[in-house]
Structures are given as C-alpha cells and as structure tokens.
Symmetry: D2
Subunit: 107 residues, 4 copies
C-alpha cells in the first residue's frame, strides 16, 4: 500500500475513497464540512504545541510518543484535504506549484 | 516542475525548500509556528464557506473564481504541512497509510 | 452606549441584537455557523502573532496600531460568542463561573 | 460569586486572576499563547457541530448534555479572551462597542 516516495500520495487515494464509500460517508462530506474538519484537525495539531515555547525540531524528534501524535494529526489534516481536493477536482500538485510561483513573485 | 500524478508531491519538495532557504525563513519555521500557520490557513479556507449552507461540489466547481480561492488555500495548508513534515522527518505516505489502517479498525 | 465596567457587556446586548435584526441576519446565524465564525475570528486574532516569537505584553501595548487590530479581533470573537450564547440561552456569567470551579478542582 | 446580569463578567475577573496566580501560570500566558489557546478552544466548540447540518437552536437546547458541552467551550473561549484583554489592558466593553459602530457604517 505504501508508495516508494514519502511525498507521493497517489497510492493512498483509492484506499481513502474506498474507506469512505464502504461507510457511506460521502453524504457528510460536503466541501464546507470538509473545510471545517481540516480546521478542527489543524487545531488539534496546534494543541500539541500549546504552552511549549522555544522547542526545536530535534527535541521533538527525540520524543517518540509526541512524534506519533504529531504524525497522526498531520495525517488527519491531509486525509480531509485529499477528500476535498478529490471532490472538487483540484490537482494538488498544480495548486501547490501555482502558489509557489505566485509567492516567488511576491516575496 | 509539475509531476504527472496530481497526488505525487515529490517534485515540489526541492522547490519548496529552495524557496524558503533563499529567503532565510528557516529561522521562523519552528514546528510550533508551522502548526499555527497551518491552523490559520485552514481558517482562511473555512472562511470561503462561511454563511453558505448546503452548497454542493458541483455548484462550487461552476464558479471559477471560488475554485481558484479554494485551491490557493488548500495549497497554503499543504505547503506548511510539507515544511513541518520535512523538518520533523515525517513520511507523509506512511503517516496517512497508518492512520487509515487505525481508522479501519475503529469504524 | 458604553457601560461603566469594562467587563460588563450588558448594555451592548440590545445594540447587538438590533444590529442583526435590522439586517435580517438571524437566518444566517444558526449555532453551527456562529461557532464557525468564532473559530475564523480566533484565527484572525492568532494571525496577528504569527512569526513573532517571545513578544511580551508591554511591547505590544507600545504599538498603537497593533493594539487596535488585536482589540478589533477580540471584539469580533466576543460578538459572535454573545450571539451564540444569546440564541442558545446560555448565561455567560454562570458558564464561566462553573468552568472555573471545575478547573479549580482539577488543577 | 455570580453577578446578577448574565452579561456582566466583572465579578469573575478577580477569581480568574487569582486562579492563575495561585498556579503560577502567568509565565505561560504570553499574548501569543493566549491567542493560540482561544483558537484551539474555538475549534473544540466547532467540533461539537461537525457533521451535523441544519440543526437549529431549539433542537440543541433540548439536549442537556450538548448544552453543557457547548456552554463549557464558550466558557473556555471567554476565559482566555478575558486573560488576554486583561493583560493588554483592553476594555472589552469599548472594544465591542467600537466594532459595532464600525460595522454599522460598513453594512
């Protein structure tokens, strides 16, 4: 199930869609709801850092349990983002490339 | 610059890292800050749906300007998520696959 | 229009309700929508602090423009929270007092 | 401890400050951290409405357990907002009144 590149999410897409279809959850996944779900998961990710100032990447990496929690929240954000992109027919690759180009001109 | 699969983000990673390095922005990108940035971008995505109830995917897809706005916010969320995953050495592919497996057992 | 205590919001409530009624906005103010609006305003408040680490209250207070921005976002959060509390018949005073008591036992 | 008006939060302020002081939590309450805490609590409030479309106030009011959850999250949002306003010397009453006036001109 796992693709060779850590950044290639292609092989996950069919599994994601199947997972949702089997549970008949498409009916809940209106774009607006998915956007809300992404924001809620993003807040859960942020909560893992609340009241912890000045922590750097290396300190976090040494804490296996925290790494698992962070990794899980990132996965949740991406899962809902992939559903939304799929449902609206947004090409993630092009969306990001386009945004980087715009940012390159701006900054 | 654009990879063939819309879900394969591999080819964007070097561009993203270069973009940040050229502007010397690594110093601002502590994991906690990136998590905050993801949450803020997720709220901006959500704002595009505020006060608009019951809209379905097709209606949104017919509105080119909205599609561009949504696509841009999704890109922003993904860009910060990719920086965070890169900096913590999180494999997106494995993170998502692992989460889907856990969810499959739970639901 | 302004009450004497900075923490007494009573005198604002009728103005808030009138403002909404005149614009016929009750129809948009379902509890779920108000909760989304609060979260979006909270992200806008948070954005004022993004990439700015270690800043203390005094530094912020010296910057009149920032104080105005922060004050405006706090107002937006409170306005939507007051609408939601009003519509659901939640007594803010009791809600907060109850929560402090629970927290006192827990921590 | 409870003031007579549900919207008069004055009598809660000393209790809030004492609660924090006794636990020596002022050190964690930088403005930026409080803003993050508000956003996280706002997401927890929003989560109570996720996947539930079309619900109106009356239906929610009939569900005592949900009312308690919503009330608790509103309290959390307000508690952090009051700490932030207190620490920055922001007058809530004036902030909200000012914002309503601006909005009245705009809409």
């Amino acid at each position: 199930m796992i693709s060779e590149s850590p950044w290639d999410l292609s092989s996950i897409v069919p599994t994601l869609m199947e997972f949702r279809h089997e549970r008949d959850w498409e009916q809940f996944h209106r774009p607006k709801e998915l956007a809300a779900a992404i924001a809620i998961e993003a807040a859960e990710l942020q909560e893992l850092f609340l009241w912890k100032e000045g922590e750097c990447a290396v300190e976090i990496q040494d804490d296996e349990e925290r790494m698992k929690e962070i990794s899980d929240e990132i996965a949740d954000i991406l899962i809902y983002t992939m559903y939304l992109a799929n449902d609206l027919g947004i090409n993630l690759n092009e969306a990001i490339s386009g945004k980087i180009e715009e940012n390159s001109e701006r900054y």
